[in-house]
Amino acid sequence: MKILVVDDEKDVQVLFEQRFRKEIRNKEMEFAFAYSGEDALKYLGDLSHEAVLILSDINMPGMSGLELLRHIKEKHKEPPPLVMMITAYGDAENYNTAMKLGADDFLTKPLEFSLLKEKLKAIH
C-alpha cells in the first residue's frame, strides 16, 4: 500500500518511518512524504507515484490541507485516492469542511499511532 504523508513538519517523516518500521521492512506499507500541498499535487501528478492513501495535515503555509483535499477529489477521480485529514485543529468547522470536501477520515493531533495503524490495516 502506497501512502503519501503531507505535513510541513519535516520530522513527521522520521516519526512515520520509525513507527511503521516493521510494516515498511515487511513491505506491507510504502510511505512517501511531501512537505506542502503544492509538493503533494506535484507528486500525485506523476502517475508512477500513484498513492492510494493520502494522510494530510490541514494547517500548512501556502496550500492548506483542505485545499489539497479539494484538488485531489476534483482532479484525481480515477482511481479515487483515500484522503485522511490529520490536524491539531480538530474543531467542528474544520471537521465539517473536510467532510463536505469528501475526506475519508479525520484524525486529530497528537496522533494515536496505534489507532492509525489499525485504520491503515483495515484499509489494507
Binding site: L15, Q18, P61, S64, T97, P110
Partner: protein, 345 residues
C-alpha cells in the same frame, strides 16, 4: 516762614548796629531763603508723596506677583501631574500594545507548542517500542540488529531533545514578549528570532481565521552570526511588521478572491556593517496620503478595535532610538509593501 528765620529777622529789626539799608538787604535775603526753603519743603513733600505712591504701587505689584506666582505654581503642579499621568498612560499603552500582540499570538503559540509536544510524546513512545525490540533482538543474540535499533533510539532521543528545546524557546520568547524590556543588548541569532515570530504570527492568524492562508517565503543570510540587539524589542518590531504584512495580504484577498496568491517574504542579509531585516508582502500597499503618518503614534488604517496605532510608532522608536538604526518603507498602492529594518553592528 520758619521759626529760625523769624528769630533772625526779629533780631535784625531790633539791632541798632545795622543801617536801615543793610537791614533792607538782609530782609530781602531772608525772604529769598524762606522762599527757597518753602520750595524745597514743597518738593520734599512731593517726593515723599511720590515715594509713598510708589511704595504702595510696589506693594501692590509684589502682591500681584505673589498671586501670579501662586497661580503659576498651581499650573506647574497641574502640568507635572498631567505629565506623570501621560507617562503612566504611555507605559500602559505600550503594555496594552504588547498584550494585544501577545493575544494575537496566543493561538499561534498554542499551535507552536502543541507540535513539538506531539513530537516529544510520539518519539518517546517509539523509543519505548524500540527498546523492547532491541531487548528482543539481544535475547536472540542478534547483536547487529540490536545495534541498528540502538541507533534508531538515539535518533528518537535527539528528536525529543530538539523538540523539547523548540517548545522551551517558544515559551521563553512568549514570556520575554510580555515582560518589560531589559534594555540589554545581547548576542542574538536574528534569523531564529525572525523565523520564530513568523511562525507564531502565521499560526496565530490561521487559528483566528480559518479562511486565511498565505505563502511564506524566507531567505535568511546564514553568514550573519550573532548580532548584539535587545532581542525582545527587535522581536516585537519583526512581529509587528509581519502581522501588518499578513493583514495587508488578507485585505487584498478579500478584494480579489480569485487569481491572487497572498505572499509574505521575510529575509535577512548582512551588508558591510549593517544587518537588514526585510518584510515584504504583495498586499494592499499603503496609500500615498497615509505614508507620512505611518510612524506617528495612534495612526492606524485598521477599523476601530483592530489596531492600536502604536505598532509602527513603537517599532520606529525601538529601531532608531534603541538601536541607532533605520526603518524604511517602500510601497506601491494596491501592489506591495516592503519594510526594511537596518541595524548597525
Amino acid at each position: 516762614m520758619s521759626p529760625q528765620l523769624q528769630t533772625i529777622s526779629d533780631f535784625i529789626k531790633t539791632s541798632s548796629g545795622i543801617s536801615d539799608a543793610e537791614k533792607e538787604s538782609l530782609f530781602k535775603l531772608i525772604k529769598e531763603v524762606d522762599k527757597n526753603q518753602t520750595m524745597i519743603q514743597f518738593k520734599l513733600e512731593r517726593i515723599e508723596k511720590d515715594r509713598n505712591t510708589l511704595s504702595i504701587m510696589l506693594q501692590e505689584s509684589i502682591e500681584d506677583l505673589q498671586k501670579k506666582s501662586l497661580v503659576i505654581e498651581d499650573a506647574n503642579k497641574a502640568l507635572t501631574q498631567t505629565l506623570e499621568e501621560l507617562k503612566a498612560t504611555q507605559v500602559q499603552l505600550i503594555q496594552s500594545e504588547k498584550m494585544a500582540s501577545l493575544g494575537e499570538l496566543t493561538a499561534g503559540i498554542a499551535h507552536e507548542i502543541q507540535n513539538p509536544l506531539n513530537f516529544v510524546n510520539n518519539f518517546s513512545e517509539v523509543s519505548n517500542e524500540l527498546i523492547d525490540e532491541m531487548t528482543e533482538q539481544l535475547e536472540k543474540g542478534n547483536a547487529e540488529e540490536a545495534k541498528a535499533i540502538a541507533n534508531e533510539v538515539k535518533m528518537s532521543l535527539e528528536k525529543i531533545n530538539l523538540h523539547g528545546k523548540r517548545a522551551d524557546g517558544i515559551v521563553k520568547s512568549m514570556l520575554q514578549h510580555s515582560r518589560a524590556s531589559t534594555g540589554k543588548k545581547e548576542p542574538t541569532d536574528i534569523n531564529v528570532l525572525a523565523d520564530e515570530y513568523l511562525r507564531l504570527a502565521y499560526h496565530g492568524l490561521r487559528a483566528k481565521d480559518k479562511s486565511f492562508n498565505a505563502a511564506i517565503k524566507t531567505d535568511y543570510d546564514e553568514n550573519i552570526g550573532l548580532v548584539k540587539i535587545i532581542s525582545q524589542d527587535i522581536g516585537r518590531v519583526i512581529l509587528n511588521l509581519i502581522t501588518n504584512a499578513f493583514y495587508a495580504v488578507m485585505e487584498k484577498k478579500k478584494l480579489q478572491p480569485t487569481g491572487y496568491e497572498p505572499t509574505v517574504t521575510v529575509s535577512t542579509k548582512k551588508i558591510d556593517n549593517k544587518i537588514i531585516v526585510e518584510v515584504k508582502d504583495n498586499g494592499t500597499g499603503i496609500p500615498q496620503k497615509a505614508i507620512d503618518k505611518i510612524f506617528q503614534p495612534f495612526f492606524t488604517t485598521k477599523p476601530t478595535g483592530q489596531g492600536t496605532g502604536l505598532g509602527l510608532s513603537l517599532s520606529y522608536d525601538i529601531v532608531t532610538k534603541g538601536h541607532g538604526g533605520e526603518i524604511k518603507v517602500e510601497t506601491k498602492e494596491g501592489e506591495s509593501t516592503g519594510f526594511s529594518v537596518i541595524l548597525p553592528v
